[in-house]
Symmetry: C2
Subunit: 404 residues, 2 copies
Amino acid sequence: MKRMEGGVCAAAGFKANGVHCGIRKNKTKRDLSLIVSDVRCSAACVYTQNLVKGAPIVVTKKHVADGYAQAIVCNSGNANTCNADGVEIAEGMCSLVEKYAKIPAQDVIVASTGVIGQPLSLEPIADGMPALVDGLSAVNGLYAAQGIMTTDTVEKQIAYTFELDGKECHIGAIGKGVGMINPNMATMLIFITTDAAISPEMLQKALSADVKDSFNMVSVDGDTSTNDMVAILANGLAGNAEIREPGKNFTVFRKVLKKTTTYLCRKIAKDGEGATKLLECKVSGAKNKRTAKIVAKSVIKSSLFKAAMFGADANWGRVLCAIGYSGADVDVSKVMVAFRSRAGYVCVCENGSGLPFSEEEAKRVLSADEIEVLIGLNDGNGSAVAWGCDLTYDYVKINGDYRT
Amino acid sequence: MKRMEGGVCAAAGFKANGVHCGIRKNKTKRDLSLIVSDVRCSAACVYTQNLVKGAPIVVTKKHVADGYAQAIVCNSGNANTCNADGVEIAEGMCSLVEKYAKIPAQDVIVASTGVIGQPLSLEPIADGMPALVDGLSAVNGLYAAQGIMTTDTVEKQIAYTFELDGKECHIGAIGKGVGMINPNMATMLIFITTDAAISPEMLQKALSADVKDSFNMVSVDGDTSTNDMVAILANGLAGNAEIREPGKNFTVFRKVLKKTTTYLCRKIAKDGEGATKLLECKVSGAKNKRTAKIVAKSVIKSSLFKAAMFGADANWGRVLCAIGYSGADVDVSKVMVAFRSRAGYVCVCENGSGLPFSEEEAKRVLSADEIEVLIGLNDGNGSAVAWGCDLTYDYVKINGDYRT
């Protein structure tokens, strides 16, 4: 498995593009993206569990019900959620893809991201579609990554090459998401493409298993979005024998998928709204994996802990506090807490009580931009990782007046 | 029922005081408080459900196990939590009360609030106790209210006079709490005194029922403290016939208790760390009360919604989003959302979709310092209220470097 360039266009037979069509006021921001495959693909999706669901999710569910799709269209600047005509608009977006890209509307995955509850007009999308389709190419993956960004400050894309049956395969992905992030059985917007051959059933199986340990373990602010979606398209152009059951090849596929999604989890957490630091909470020694996940997620979500990390303050009492109210079955008198970063390592708590430590050294460790929070529960073999970010002035600034 | 001055000393036979003993560095801040009754009282407490519990909670539970107590001692500046010698220190505080105030240590309720995981020395407490006891008086309730404050910006005290059996009774209370507030079956620190005569069992019954709709419905930051405690002392000096069972007098008592605790809930939420606004989320029309409470709590806890309120931004999509991920059984297509304050009223969502509204008017309504978020679920008769505050730069500032 090797990392490569190309993002969502790294896999054979995929083209992409992103344009500014006018949904967002700022003309320098792309707001409409399209990813297409030369051939029809196995398709799998997971969606937000929020009861309030964006209209695109309703339409996408219908379109991928047969396990196949060939394109993904996505706009930013408007979530198309809580609008009376939302489904009609989302279907209209798919019809525009059919009209200009000659891909059947029912093979189009549609997504929207941005403000909830503001009417979305089809007009700018209709205006922008010809240029969007004209510009589709295997080198424009970056534009597609840009077109789905909202308050994201960096594009999020990744690609790997790997082998199945001696055939060179590729997997690539783009993602967005910096706020309203606390996925539950699904996630922010992630679009993954691969030229590996894999049946729709096995693709769904791989994706559903993966998100439990990847995107579902990310939290920026504890708010689960109405429009979360992870979609994966596999067009089979790599020429490997189609994966139709568990086995060696499925294991390899799951491994590269995990590598891809983990990269995006870290990227999304680090770019959390207003964030200056990536927090990676690694829990080990739990009674079981479920306990480890509950603890990791609780710590990564604590506003008090996140604010302390912003201030590079080794206030480990807030870690203990978040473990204590997590609901997990933990013996607090056995807990160990340490902080680690490229600047060093400092253990601050053992057996549930504080250890003497150098405040200056702790400050240095916590001043790095990627911090590991290591929690040992000394109670078994369960482990888990969760990703989050610090809570900063800029989070408040960004969200105090998001709509204007 | 009439409001009166005097706080925790409003009821007959109670004296209080607060001094600076040296736990907090700032000499202008009182950090040690004491409330005593002339006679032994019926006592009831509820405590945090956090698995990590402050040592004072362990000691207090033991001391009120028999249903009686006569004094409350509390320090600020240090939570006495996650310390190996914590229980010993908490018991030492009670012994100091016995030594100087001549009240048996086992009749003392002890509480601590402040930083978790830093050793607490008994020395400053021993040094301050003589002056603390010397200054006990029926007019020093304010000092006691000040001595338990941490990052609180205002003292929180209240008192009411009411009648039972034609006897004039009084209830008074002080409270603290501005961060790490998301009570679960218990709450921040609240000390209530009354001269009504009521048995320990009925007092506990009244308190346990009350907190479910009062303190458990407050959230400043979603973090449940390790030291939360509500304690109530009833010394019976008003001379009414002791309340020993449900009935008219118990109903009256519950009503004044509710009035007292609701006042403190609003006060605590409004003084939430960094807060500029009190948010009062009123849910009606729910399938049942439980559903209404889940919805109200979810909205009041949403970081995104809280930040929008700071910016006076009528971003109601975030209200819908928080309803949708709350886990409550809600038909989102029936939801109504409106904002109300002393500056006006604006309805922004009906049947789960947006209504046209004047942004300027909404801005005016949301610029008040107390805002009601009205949610109608149109699905039954369940209702609930939750209290919270906006998320501001100052929350981050206060918590980015709390320990120094």
